[in-house]
Subunit: 476 residues, 2 copies
């Protein structure tokens, strides 16, 4: 498409990670800033990643028996106030439509920040009998939360996401689904984004507005900060009561359903950039990379070179791979830089000598090393094998970093030292909000998730008996 | 999911088509009404149709070299006023965000009714050189137009659509793309929706606000009314000038680009319902039907029946078909009614005798007739063949109806008689707005599209020399 000046300079990833991030997302044309403050344009290179994420998640949702649907964007203001905690949490950040069709509206309408209320309203209409349950729907849509400080993908006033909403007849089933979806997200993060995550229950302070319990998955970014990458919420009967989601049970008794919800967003694109990126720019995991293999012709004006590239591209495409030939007039060196910055997992350099010898030379983006000696005739299996290796190596690298960087602490000072050093700190917590607040004040770190077991004796803050082992970290 | 009371009664399609439509879309659970007036909930059965439409169109766009992206929902009010005709056309029907994040906004923001302005703004930033052109992007999103009278799918305040927006270096290229996309839509309508359409240029009165020329495809509904089912617009330099979309040409001269856009929406779901539906309810075209084959077990409690149904379902699914087994406790007769109303193209009834004899009995939704004597062992080829036959027969039936119901007229009275009789009327038109207005006043019919050739001598209204042969019709 556009043939802009290639700009090598991206900020140094080790010394100025925030600027590195901004440089990379803009210069690789993942994103641009929209005209309204805090909004972003998702450009084709990022949107293609999102489509790959959607395809992979849709397959998992479908296998789990969840169906897609679409609910309206605009929610009557009065809906927001029906669940007391919910309105408190979301009211400060909603965008409000007050005029439409040339007239002032009788009731202001909220642009959905999340859809528990409007979906609760519809479920209240639809659910009548135990036979209608479970009811498990998902929607892919845009949502809006007016944020003061924004960054592309990580925090924008509008973002794209999926939100799943289910009603069950019993608390047990709804709680089990809340954990099942957390496991689904974890498997997806690992397999598709090559991204290790910590999962667990959130503290009361960090839970979703209106939930009984929130579970999150947290990923460690390059700088050791945490990024919340997906959440699942068990609502108990809170929303069912607010919206009259009632059913007649097998026993003939009218009762409220139990609801849960779960979501991941375009934030995942930010997560994979900050998990895998390096000093040269993006490093995209093969399962979601828009281009998995770029073919760079060497001496492309020589007879037969471009034809050989086309033939190889066609073969790899037939094998189900996403392939691009860069046959622009730029020099090979320029092209190498460009596609390295854009994070393409595998580069094939194909020139007269390779064609003559029937050999294949590749450049792996994960190791930034060339490998040669492969047979051109076996390109399909070779490339597939290498992409699988790259996925595994990206995961292993991120996993090793996270394991190295989870440290313990038995005092606030140690906790501060830990997060200052770019670590997650696993420490005991008594369960009191005051201590959680103190940690935040002292170390600018928050409780990301609680571990399932508490093997730590005392609270890192007050020294009393610990109730939970908590992963504390600075977070995006 | 829900097991609601089966309601046979849908209004008679011949005597009360509007009520038939409402009954069908609600009772087959395609749609429900949202809490805000004019909004709809797209339920799983309709959303699955939309996903099939998206998949088919995405494949065509990709093959044509168009990439997907996503632009922000909210547009600064000032953008709307930059193209004079555009603001006049859309201002009366926009929804406006005036407050966000707990404060009044400095500038009101419009919920996009279409995205020419915001995409024009971004293209103005991105396009610099002839090397950046053509720039061809598409987005799938929600849009909002505040309408007074609404009907599910046909006209709702919020709907889902795709909007493609391209910039070219020359008028010729942009005009050619406008026609190419119209042909793409026509082929899609024919192949995927099994729906014949008339395509052609719209009159000045009917064109898009801000366009130089609009082209439409119009489909004939069961009642002989027309439904605009897709449009493409050539904008000339109107939006390029309003948003500074300028490039330096090969000649070194700075000049404005030429833009065009094109879109289809969830309205297409309404189009296929009203094109193919019959007295029993929906008749869904096989390429988009969420369930292509429903298997109804006969004597399902007898040993081996459900197992045989599962096996057949697995075989058909492996063959790439969308299959469902109805193993609920309802009677076979109840199931037949239910799935006929839901428009499933093919029903297989499988019972002990079929299993024993290795034969297959099917019910075709297009003809409402059973066919038997097929071999169970050849189910895959048989079903695929039948689905192809059904697609062809649906198209042929709709095509025959449209051909029968295009009549001529040489006076306003004849034109009125034509549209009263549920026809499209092909008549001469002098090209004057006054005559077009008169036709609307006299016959409540509008110019749908102009034919490419004018073989008619005189204007149906004023009797002067005809400039265009126009298809007039009542329209949704």
């Amino acid at each position: 498409m556009a043939k802009e000046q290639f700009v090598k300079e991206i900020a140094d990833i080790e010394t100025d990670f925030p600027q590195w991030y901004t440089d990379v997302v803009v210069k690789t044309k993942l994103v641009d800033y929209g005209p309204v403050k805090g909004t972003m344009v998702i450009r084709p290179y990022a949107y293609a990643i999102w489509e790959n994420i959607q395809r992979e998640l849709n397959a998992r949702f479908r296998a789990a028996g969840v169906e897609n649907a679409y609910f309206p964007l605009l929610i009557p203001m009065s809906f927001m106030t029906k669940e007391a905690e919910h309105v408190e949490g979301f009211a400060p950040e909603v965008a409000v439509v007050t005029h439409a069709g040339g007239a002032k509206l009788e009731e202001p309408l909220v642009v959905r920040p999340t859809s528990e209320t409007i979906i609760g309203h519809m479920y209240g209409k639809w659910v009548e009998s135990w036979r209608d349950l479970p009811l498990r729907l998902n929607q892919w849509c845009n949502v809006m939360r007016w944020e003061k400080t924004t960054r592309p993908f990580l925090r924008t006033s509008e973002f794209l996401w999926q939100e799943g909403h289910s009603v069950f007849a019993s608390a047990e089933e709804a709680e089990e689904e809340t954990l099942a979806m957390l496991r689904l997200y974890e498997e997806f993060a690992k397999t598709v984004l090559c991204m290790p995550v910590l999962t667990g229950r959130k503290t009361e302070k960090e839970k979703f507005a209106g939930a009984v319990a929130t579970y999150g998955m947290e990923a460690m970014m390059h700088d050791g900060k945490s990024l919340q990458s997906g959440t699942t919420h068990y609502m108990g009967q809170n929303f069912a009561k607010a919206f009259g989601v009632q059913f007649t049970g097998k026993d003939g008794v009218l009762q409220y359903g139990y609801t849960m919800s779960y979501g991941v967003s375009t934030r995942l694109i930010g997560a994979l950039i900050m998990t895998h990126g390096d000093s040269r720019g993006l490093v995209l995991p093969p399962p979601v990379a828009p281009v998995q293999v770029v073919i760079v012709p060497i001496a492309q004006k020589k007879e037969g070179v471009l034809a050989a590239c086309e033939e190889l591209s066609a073969r790899l495409t037939r094998a189900g791979l996403r392939v691009k030939i860069d046959d622009t007039d730029n020099s090979p060196g320029w092209k190498f830089n460009e596609w390295e910055m854009k994070g393409v997992p595998l580069r094939i350099e194909l020139g007269p000598r390779d064609i003559e010898s029937g050999k294949l030379t590749v450049f792996r983006r994960d190791t930034c090393e060339k490998e040669d000696g492969f047979l051109l005739a076996e390109a399909e299996e070779t490339v597939k094998g290498l992409l699988a290796e790259i996925s595994a190596s990206l995961y292993a690298r991120a996993q090793a970093r996270m394991e190295e960087r989870i440290v313990g602490a038995s005092s606030l000072e140690e906790l501060l030292e830990g997060v200052d050093g770019g670590n997650f700190v696993r420490a005991g917590w008594c369960g009191e909000r005051a201590c959680e607040d103190k940690v935040k004040e002292f170390a600018q770190a928050t409780a990301r998730v609680m571990d399932t077991e508490c093997d730590l004796p005392t609270c890192v803050c007050c020294g009393k008996k610990a109730k939970h082992a908590v992963f504390f970290a600075r977070a995006y």
